[in-house]
Symmetry: C2
Subunit: 314 residues, 2 copies
Amino acid sequence: MTTDVCVLGIGLIGGSLLRALGPDRAFGWNRSAAAADAASADGFDVSTDLAHTLRRAVQTDALVVVAVPLPALDAVLDAVAEHAPTVALTDVISVKGPVLDAVRRRGLEARFVGGHPMAGTAHSGWAATDPALFRDATWLVAADDGADPATWSRVAALATACGSRIVSASSAHHDAAVARISHLGHVLAEALALAGGRGGDLALALGAGSFRDGTRVAATAPELVRAICEPNRDALLAVLDECLADLGAARDSLATRGTLGPLVDDGHTARRAYEDLHSGRTDADPVSIRPGAPGWLDVLRAAGAAGLEVRPSG
Amino acid sequence: MTTDVCVLGIGLIGGSLLRALGPDRAFGWNRSAAAADAASADGFDVSTDLAHTLRRAVQTDALVVVAVPLPALDAVLDAVAEHAPTVALTDVISVKGPVLDAVRRRGLEARFVGGHPMAGTAHSGWAATDPALFRDATWLVAADDGADPATWSRVAALATACGSRIVSASSAHHDAAVARISHLGHVLAEALALAGGRGGDLALALGAGSFRDGTRVAATAPELVRAICEPNRDALLAVLDECLADLGAARDSLATRGTLGPLVDDGHTARRAYEDLHSGRTDADPVSIRPGAPGWLDVLRAAGAAGLEVRPSG
């Protein structure tokens, strides 16, 4: 990282990014003065003046990282379009298609490459930030048509500087995947928590490790769960319908034949595949990629489809 | 614990119980010679001769703990009825009504009090056993009509010796509660894992903490998941139907209004109630109970309904 990074929004993700990079390499903006003051007290350069912060990003050719929740995206991108329309731009929002659409509506796509670090906790805000949050995490760096190779490289370098592995995919493929491994999980965690709560204090008292882990993300603030899941509506609806069909089949099998049926074996097989992929990946060589080389986006997408890490070369 | 304990079945739960008590206070039986040999090599007294083990339990007035999976229960209880029909008897199986029914069918209920330590891992077998498995866990000691106070006290002392807190409820109330906080969680974990697996290696590669935690129990061997969940069919069907209705309402709300609706708030509220109950309980005084005193079973059930620990006195 030889360039500055400008982080817009210092909640859990943006704030942790600021901490991971350190005050010498990153500066930021936050809407709420309380968080900005807290960050300043911790030695970070965080302003509450968005226009000023964006003009500074232009002057230093900083990589601007949009780290606000999706509902606040439009206001921030309006300011980028007004004050820093040519800046190199990325984001860390949990859904990629709607962000790309919003960027394109403002003509900001020439130097935009979306991103999504697959990291988080059930807590939020500056107080929850952690410089190690992204260490050994997977950071999705988008591979959309027309992506600027130089910006892609800067986003990849940001992910690497934070200790993350890079996996790449189109925004649409990312959104379909995270509907499965993140957004559905939020919905099922809420449903499990609710079912437990309906059993009263006896059920909650008997709740042990599996209930604790299965409902962990239901501890996330409801407005944040909505901001994460609801913008991915179409992909989430598709996987919810699939899941309802799976659960309905298991329910019917249990009612009529006394067994949950293939769901148990199929779920177990999938969990084992997940474990194998994550335990094996540390040994697998990353796919080397030269951003801008002929067919580079196809190479990125093929590696992502195989679950393989990519690493920029040259 | 001034009496011997005889553990029938040394898988994860029974074997951990053996380890928690130590070879001076417990002996055991196991169907498979491989596990019995492994336990013997570790200094434990584990036979593969069930009749011999049960006669020894009679001679020493040991508390017999049935720790086999439910599908093996009938064969073990047949042997108890033949070789040790008057022995003090408990179990550590994850469903209580079907065990109580099986005990009553053989006329073994006079000295039977069911139990269920709320502890486990996704692993199984002697190699996975852990003497600390029950430490700070909740151990359900059943409060069914006609329970023998002396046996109840021995089961409670066993739980305490293993470091567990005691919560009490009728077998039927236990089964309804664990359908909510354990068995439904198994089904949802399988469904989440399956949904992730259907997204291929990209989805599995992007799976992070929430997917790992939400699918953890799907790593459990499928035959064990079935043995845990399927015997609790009626209670599990009722909560599955509730859950399918909740998920269907969230799905429809997302499709028509773009929001997941009340599920997110209600799930969050329930998760917070779970956290409050478990963080506060360490400070709350246990409910003191004298087994056999007038109304003692009612006191146990009332405490359990309030999620409160009980502790035998006198």
